[in-house]
Symmetry: C2
Subunit: 585 residues, 2 copies
């Protein structure tokens, strides 16, 4: 690649459209251009990086025994109707009609199609196991496309699927893909953490995410000193032991003037009520009752009340995951207008000694509790009357609920569920996801094979994704400084960047010759052979483009020397021209 | 690739969905599967063939100096609005809206986006010329998807575009791509003819198509002994010389009872009227007036009458090309009801000595003529009265028209426009198209650069397409027999196909060892290592899959021999195992 002809223009200024560093630098260094909201065009340098990532993925998929196929992105509605994802995907799905008014979609993922393809070709346990994958354009109509390639609306994924007769087979297939992912990310030079994940809308059971730790990540994950790691959606709260109900004081309604929020309730209690254990009152002693609306993909709206300790908030992502495919909203004025029994600031499970919340209560609103609200635990709760609370309201004695749901925020210092210590919070970008789908899709689409006894059995599946175009951004985000990109050598658009820095013909001739010699060794070269461009501009572009090894053919040539420039360390040293080739690692 | 694990099931029977041989065989041999109307899934073998074609294209694009980029398939409406193609594409365009109700499309071709990208990055004549290309999924909502990969709705194209300041530059860029296409098709082993083409909906001037001759082709093209070749849409009719008007007999209206079609008119004339030159009357002496409706992309309907010699028909494709972007329909009953002056079977340009057809005529319907209707030519035409015709109606004396349009059928035996002899007709499949777009897109989208004098000049463009997935079908169509496919070696999914035909372990071990030795020489191998599958079935699959070189490890092994089987010639000969490798070409 010669900069005199390469389709590339570097930008001195940060483009307005970009917020995160990877996005800014990929635009400035001429790797991508914006084509629309969440839509990007790949320029030659970007395409070279993407191709290197795809090559590593293909090699490791082959090592894991997975075979490559390729599906259309434009797909008919029917298979997605059979699994209900046509509806469940909601606004995230691009839907369209053809000239005959038949429904189609742009596939966000291909579980249905892979399932149908295996059903189409295979029919016996002898045909299995099989693992298939594709590297293909995917589409999601994101509400907020952001950060360039990190969250686009058209993006490239590697999606693999395994098909087995037995659960053990699925586990082995899952492990093979998981191992392949570790090899892929290691080879690409991507820092990653494997965390337990919530299976979410995809259904299924065992599920892990590969996150690349990054302050700009959209995923929050936790880690413990003992090695526990999980996506925040997947953290199970450590449940305190149940408490004996016997001997606890009776619940009593107390007038709490103006105590319409937790802070004021705690202040009132501190000022007016002595705790039996002598400890000070805190928000953790109050039961906060949060009114939420679940909106189903079909648009059905259901109110639920969630009771949790008053010192915690609901975590929106955990709630989304728990109630998927429903969307979760805070109840609005209209909801409250329909339920005058809900007195804001004073909501609680019980009114006048009778259940108000819960399907068995007078409101008929489903009531769910945080797992910390254990049997025998006593709470200050709203009394469903203005300026009144109930003290010593005991779970299992005075109130009950329709179920437990684990959607309160996870905090730094919370205990890891496996006893491995206190959790620390961090942010990461999801770069891969492996999980055991089980038989959900095979059942929905009728993928069965004959077993050894000639009996039809349903196949069990795994699903394994890597965000290919997202990885370009993740690598750029993790490998840059204020001057530009610094690619790991495995994904650099070229192995060596040769700068002809000077005006004399001999500089250009030497640089050409050196570049040709490097190419002859099987390496790729970007050669800055631009005439009438100053060495300063050339060095700036070299730093921006980010090839890790740079050779400068310039002033030193009079002494028979060229400069080797390590883009990452910044170290620059003169070496004899003759030994430049050997000095490259 | 081992058949014991390869994701492949060959089919014994022709699938119902397939009509043409390439489609049948690609399905039966496990290269592709149907995913929806005009939508195909690529299985491992098909993907291998497609990858080989793409590799050849990439190498030759690089040789031609074109640089690879990659655009989204999902694109915003605006650029296509600026060139009016959002509307002009009519029903062929897949349109959709995102969650914000913003209009998008699935791109059928990318002229607009390439133009905008170059505008985005470049600004000076010094930046040009540049040629860019992509290999990418395209979408067209075909009215009749057919013949598998030959006319699909999602398909892969290589589309390249050149950008130049001068017309000479464009010509050179065009030639470079044209040369690259010749190299590509030659390397792939595709038979092709380069024909003059109509630029059609794409605008622009010089345009040639690469057609692969095939009886199942949708394109008709002509060839002359002297080397002329053109798509039937692009053939210019050889215009006979004008005839002196002076001295010709006056036009006269003659009652022609029941002569409501050309055949009857000729019969009537033969029975009742003596020709001045003594020759017999033929349909070529009558002027047939065809009433057609042009429907604009916006839905506007305009009637036109086309007059041509009565021995010719309108060619639908030539008419479509001439009137693009309008669609061409035959006038319907409703159209005739609005124009009672048009008497079916007796339509003509003149009534009672005054013009009826034409914008100047009483009907105000545009009247167009075939180029053979030259000045001074005399015709029998309908008199716009039931059962009456006008004889000796002379063009230029008795009637005129609003223009000439060359849309009559081209016939075997017609003269080539360049005087190179009689035309022969043949059918072909379009595999490539090169043309000089000129400044149409650059003007519509404002692509200008500063010239040497600092003046803004509009860039001139070329557009160059190859149907990548279609080529797979074209190659299959041209390379098969009744037993299966026979790939040219450049695109075969593997270089060698090794069959282990027997039950003894030594057969499998030898086949394995031989396959490994071939792979070690850098060639790819498909190894049929299936246990419990009969040699007959294995040979059948080998013929179906169509790798050109087959090695059979079987009975001959006792004599230390294997069979080399040439799939194309069918020749099968025993060679010593030791020399099998050298015997492969």
């Amino acid at each position: 690649m010669r900069l005199s002809t390469l389709f590339l223009r570097t930008l001195r200024e940060d483009p307005n459209e970009a917020e995160v560093n990877s996005h800014k630098l990929l635009l400035r260094a001429g790797y991508i251009r914006r084509a629309g909201a969440g839509l990007y065009t790949w320029l030659p340098l970007g395409l070279a990086v993407k191709a290197k990532i795809e090559k590593v993925i293909r090699e490791e998929m082959a090592n894991a025994g997975a075979q490559e196929v390729f599906f259309p992105a434009l797909l008919p509605r029917e298979p997605f109707e059979a699994t209900n994802r046509w509806t469940e995907y909601g606004d995230n799905l691009f839907r369209l009609q053809d000239r005959k008014k038949t429904d189609y979609l742009l596939a966000p993922t291909h579980e249905e199609m892979f399932t149908l393809l295996v059903k189409d070709l295979y029919g016996s346990y002898k045909d299995l196991p099989v693992a298939l994958y594709q590297i293909q354009n995917k589409y999601r109509d994101e509400a907020r496309p952001r950060a360039g390639l990190l969250r686009g609306r058209e993006f490239v994924m590697k999606d693999a699927y395994s098909f087995d007769v037995t659960d053990e087979g699925l586990k082995a297939a899952y492990q093979a893909q998981r191992d392949a992912y570790e090899r892929i990310f290691t080879r690409l030079g991507v820092d990653y953490v494997i965390v337990k994940a919530d299976a979410g809308a995809m259904g299924g059971s065992a599920s892990e995410e590969f996150l690349s730790p990054s302050p700009i990540g959209e995923d929050t994950f936790v880690r413990s000193p003992g090695g526990y790691a999980a996506n925040v959606e997947a953290v199970a709260t450590v449940v305190p032991p149940a408490i004996a109900i016997e001997g606890q004081p009776a619940a009593q309604v107390i007038a709490t003037p103006a105590a319409s929020n937790i802070k004021r309730v705690v202040q009132f209690a501190t000022d007016n009520v002595q705790r039996a254990d002598g400890e000070p009152w805190t928000a953790a002693h109050t039961l906060k009752n949060n009114v939420m609306a679940l909106v189903s993909p079909e648009g059905k709206r259901e109110l639920v009340v969630f009771g949790l300790p008053g010192d915690r908030e609901v975590d929106a992502k955990r709630a989304e995951a728990a109630f998927s495919p429903n969307e979760v909203e805070q109840a609005n004025e209209e909801d409250f207008a329909k339920h005058p029994e809900l007195i804001k600031g004073y909501i609680g499970p019980v009114k006048d000694g009778k259940a108000l919340l819960g399907l068995e209560g007078s409101s008929k609103i489903r009531y769910l509790l945080d797992p910390r609200v254990v049997e025998g635990s006593a709470w200050i709760s709203g009394a469903n009357e203005s300026e009144k609370h109930i003290f010593d309201l005991v779970k299992g004695r005075d109130f009950n609920a329709d179920g437990i749901v684990d959607i309160a925020e996870v905090r730094e210092g919370d205990q890891a569920p496996d006893g491995s210590g206190e959790l620390q919070l961090a942010r990461g970008i999801e770069i891969g996801h492996v999980f055991q789908l089980g038989r959900k899709y095979a059942e929905a689409l009728g993928l069965q094979v004959l077993d050894e006894n000639g009996k039809l059995v349903t196949v069990t599946m795994g699903s394994y994704g890597i965000g290919v175009t997202r990885l370009v951004a993740v690598l750029a985000e993790a490998n840059h400084d204020d001057k530009g990109l610094i690619w790991p050598s495995a994904v650099s658009p070229a192995d060596v960047y040769v700068v002809a820095a000077g005006k004399d013909d001999v500089v250009y001739e030497t640089a050409e010759k050196l570049a040709a010699e490097i190419v002859a060794t099987g390496r790729t070269v970007i050669l800055d052979d631009r005439l009438k461009v100053s060495p300063g501009v050339k060095f700036g572009d070299a730093e921006l483009v980010g090839v890790p090894q740079i050779i400068i053919v310039g002033k030193g040539l009079e002494q028979g020397e060229v400069d080797l420039w390590d883009r990452r360390t910044g170290e620059r040293r003169a070496v004899p021209l003759q030994s430049a080739l050997q000095e490259l690692n």
